[in-house]
């Protein structure tokens, strides 16, 4: 197990190298001169040229990449071109907000999705099952910015129960988490249902019943643990999607998260901030997937990680 974790951490290196090349290349291939944007509309050609020199944009592309890589390895991402603040200070707090949002949303997805999926599987082909699956289809199909706006309209404006914007207090957290977690809950519910149905038809479930166990124990102890593996996979991938996909929800609820920051700084061609943000997201994504793999081992000892 320990060996596996160490090896996975080493695998981080090529992954991050790849990500760094991609994000660097994409930023540099994007049309538009960062120096010109930074210098402003009316800047003289001379001022722009000075700016380019100062920002290192005239260095050979390899050197620019090398500098970026050196900064990244030393965990010093430099200063933002737009705000002049230290990059780590700029993305740190916003990143925490987005991770919180994604984490709470994932927890909500798991909680609602598992319960709905199990109930659906146990009561398969009943009205309850069909209703849950139809609701799940809606949840999956609804664009989350629209869901966010509707929730806001209803709970904030009409009823006035919850604040419409911001992040931090428990009241502020509720609506964005529902907005972001709904689609995930739908995916988890459908996955859990099909996985449970598959497991419930297995021989060992019949064995469990033949032992005289209560149906609840058969379902929760014998079936669920076996059915969770595909669900965990989906949740892991979902978490990555939530990290990057939170930008719409953040925008709707005026939350200062990393998604909004990246969009803003792409427009400003603020290379250091964009590159650092993407790298940090990649690291988190890899760690979440490591966690998923370790969960497999916990769920089923037969899985050989080494």
């Amino acid at each position: 197990m320990f060996k596996f974790v160490v090896r996975r951490l080493f695998q981080l290196i090529p992954v991050l190298l790849g990500v760094s090349i991609l994000v660097f290349a994409m930023m540099h291939l994007t049309p538009g001169n960062p120096a010109k944007i930074l210098a402003g509309q009316g800047a003289s050609a001379e001022a722009v040229a000075n700016m380019e020199e100062e920002m290192g944009l005239n260095d050979p592309i390899i050197v620019q990449y090398g500098n970026f890589l050196y900064d990244a390895v030393t965990l010093n991402f430099g200063t933002s071109w737009k705000s002049g603040l230290e990059v780590s200070k700029e993305i740190g707090p916003k990143f925490v907000v987005t991770v919180e949002l994604a984490l709470y949303s994932t927890m909500l997805s798991l909680f609602i999705g598992l319960i709905a999926g199990i109930v659906s599987a146990v009561r398969k082909y009943t009205l309850l099952d069909v209703s849950i699956m139809i609701i799940a289809l809606f949840g999956l199909s609804m664009p989350n910015f629209w869901l966010g706006i509707m929730l806001m309209q209803w709970f904030s404006i009409q009823l006035g129960w919850l604040p419409a914007t911001g992040w931090g207090t428990p009241e502020q957290i509720i609506l964005p988490v529902i907005t972001l977690g709904t689609a995930g809950a739908a995916v988890v519910a459908r996955m859990t249902r099909s996985s449970m149905l598959d497991v419930i038809s297995q021989d060992y479930i019949r064995t469990a019943r033949a032992k005289g166990l209560k149906e609840g124990i058969v379902i929760y102890r014998h079936a669920l643990k076996n059915a969770l593996i595909p669900v965990v996979t989906v949740v892991g991938l979902q978490f990555g999607l939530l990290l990057s996909g939170a930008v719409l929800t953040e925008t709707v609820f005026a939350i200062n998260g990393i998604g909004g920051l990246i969009v803003d700084r792409i427009n400003a061609r603020d290379f250091p901030v964009v590159q650092a943000s993407v790298l940090v997201m990649a690291v988190v994504f890899v760690f979440v997937n490591l966690l998923v793999d370790l969960t497999y081992k916990f769920l089923n000892k037969r899985i050989d990680l080494d």
Partner: protein, 340 residues
């Protein structure tokens, strides 16, 4: 039969229904099992033998349902008792082992956990005493170094070992009735013999009654006291094992015995039963074996024979033994003959 009867099934009906079809998998099965004896239930795939077994424990999955008949176990009708009462019987007074040892154990729990579970639910044993009893049970079923085995997962054990574990789980609470549904079908021949021997030995030691479901006449000869031969969801012959092998009455039983390959007879002389089991969705109205029976007459095709006792303790569902039958006089006189 003067012995005490532990299980008495009367006219059992188990039906699988969906919107536009119904399958009467078990259609009027009756048999009884004396205490401490072994009853073999024999038949081809689709004859309803496994469904009969699962019906006894009320483990028939949706959309199947026991729709009629009685299952009297120690004087209690299992079709009538509450779910709770049924649960207290399963794994406790009546246990079952299954055909597929490879998939019958839960892959995510240790052997020990899976044995302890039964001990906990029926005898309230905790972890410590449960472990001790588990080790004892594994020893009983002939598993070496049981102290280590209880910590292992099913995938670390061979098929034969897993079936032994299944037997240990089944025997955990000293059941009075063990239902073994083709316990050796999925195992190697050498392991098959060991498992059968184990079941026989444990039966003698513990005084259990056993229902042995199989399609293998060899297994029947080796383990059973009585035999119920099933065909198309019905019992077609019930006899003690000696009578059945020496003087089989039903043409289907004769056919089954004739189709066993023997090392001392040339393969050319092997006599299979022609054709196949009729579709359960489309059962003939007469004798279900009529389309494959070499002696069938119009009467057989038209009318279903009843299960009648023709000799002491020997019941047959066949027109040949009735006055109304007008087929081959030779067969009527001597009955269908074994060719091997």
């Amino acid at each position: 039969m003067s012995e005490e009867i532990i299980l008495d099934i009367k006219n059992l009906q188990t039906v699988f229904r969906d919107e536009d079809s119904e399958v009467r998998a078990v259609d009027g099965v009756s048999f009884s099992l004396p205490k401490g004896k072994t009853l073999g239930v024999v038949g081809e795939s689709g004859s309803g033998k496994s469904v009969t077994a699962l019906s006894i424990l009320r483990l028939i999955d949706h959309p199947g349902k026991v729709e009629g008949g009685e299952i009297n176990f120690k004087g209690k009708d299992l079709t009538k008792i509450s779910d709770k009462e049924m649960r207290s019987i399963r794994g406790n007074q009546i246990s079952m082992i299954f055909q597929e040892p490879m998939t019958s154990l839960n892959p995510v729990y240790t052997i020990g956990q899976q044995i302890r579970e039964t001990l906990k639910v029926h005898q309230g044993l905790g972890k410590q005493s449960g472990n001790e009893k588990s080790v004892e049970l594994l020893k009983l079923v002939g598993i070496p170094s049981p102290e280590d085995r209880i910590k292992q997962y099913p995938h670390e054990l061979s098929g034969g070992m897993r079936q032994r574990v299944m037997i240990a789980i089944a025997l955990a609470c000293n059941p009075e009735l063990l239902i073994a549904d083709e316990p050796t079908t999925a195992l190697d021949v050498t392991i098959q013999a060991q498992i059968l021997e184990l079941i026989n030995r444990l039966q003698d030691e513990m005084g259990m009654s056993v229902i042995m479901i199989t399609h293998d006449m060899g297994v029947v000869a080796e383990t059973c006291d009585y035999v119920a031969v099933m065909y198309g969801g019905k019992v077609v012959e019930y006899a003690d094992v000696k009578t059945l092998f020496k003087d089989p009455k039903h043409p289907y039983t004769v056919g089954l015995l004739n189709s066993i390959p023997r090392h001392d007879i040339d393969v050319d002389e092997l006599e299979p039963i022609r054709g196949s089991v009729p579709s359960p969705k489309d059962m003939p109205k007469g004798c279900r074996f009529a389309s494959r029976c070499p002696f069938a007459t119009d009467l057989c095709v038209e009318e279903l024979p009843s299960l009648d006792e023709i000799e002491d303790g020997n019941e047959v569902r066949c027109w040949i033994y009735s006055d109304r039958w007008d087929g081959d006089p030779e067969v009527k006189e001597h009955g269908p003959k074994r060719t091997s």
